[in-house]
């Protein structure tokens, strides 16, 4: 089976990940899924009131993979999904660098959209990654945000 979860220092190739989502595990093209949704998160230049120059991503080795897998399994039990792929980078990242990739295929667009959002909302609250930013006022640990907690909690009602 293809790798579903990767936690890695190296960059990822969006085009290759998209092509992999379209292919069956035997290499033939997946023609039963009509919808592919992808999310990419990037290092942006402004956060929590300050200019950002770069960041370092710390993680809890082993638990990150486990937490991401639990989230994907929860999404798969909630929606009929085809393929799911999650990549999260760690280490030093520069402005505009890619941080995270989530890609989901499904027969129907609703399921693909919701599952991708669900995975990101839970990743933001449950996967043990921490960002330390280099800003115009020095280094600082990013503060967790209430809106991310709320984004995750809405799935409890759904």
């Amino acid at each position: 089976m293809d790798e579903m979860i990767s936690v890695q220092t190296q960059d990822f190739d969006m085009a290759a990940e998209y092509q992999a989502l379209l292919a069956n595990t035997d290499g033939t093209s997946n023609s039963s899924d009509g919808a592919v949704v992808t999310f990419v998160g990037l290092v942006r230049d402004y956060n929590q009131g300050n200019h950002v120059e770069g960041l370092t991503l710390e993680h809890y080795p082993g638990m990150t993979e486990k937490a991401l897998e639990d989230i994907v399994v929860a999404a798969q039990s909630k929606w009929p999904l085809g393929k799911v792929r999650v990549i999260h980078r760690i280490g030093k990242l520069a402005l505009s660098d890619q941080i995270v990739f989530v890609g989901v295929t499904s027969k129907h667009r609703e399921a693909a959209f919701e599952a991708t959002q669900f995975i990101m909302d839970f990743l933001k609250n449950k996967a043990p990654f921490w960002k330390k930013e280099v800003t115009n006022i020095g280094e600082r640990w990013v503060e967790a945000e209430d809106k991310d907690v709320k984004a995750q909690q809405r799935w409890d009602k759904a």
Partner: protein, 88 residues
């Protein structure tokens, strides 16, 4: 023996990434049975540990799963304390 890990700003504030504790033999910890009791005992180390570990926002994991303080600890467990996560 249990392993205790600290991450991110908590690791920096404590200046400690990892501790090993022998629950059965280390006299300081022989009364510790739950995760919350371990946290309370570790917080007694000094004022710095007290203020870092007694914040309500801290997350706790045992064997790489987030749990609450009622979790009973057993030999061989991997315990982790960390601030709210900020990946993605």
């Amino acid at each position: 023996m249990i392993k205790v890990l600290f991450f991110a700003q908590l690791r920096e504030q404590l200046n400690c990434a990892e501790l090993t504790i022998n629950l059965a033999e280390d006299t300081r910890f022989t009364a510790v049975s739950t995760l919350e009791q371990l946290r309370t005992e570790l917080a007694l180390t000094d004022d710095n540990w007290q203020s870092c570990l007694q914040t309500g926002k801290l997350l706790m994991a045992v064997n790489q799963t987030i749990v609450d303080g009622n979790q009973v600890l057993k030999d061989g467990d991997e315990v982790a304390f960390f601030p709210p996560v900020t990946g993605g």
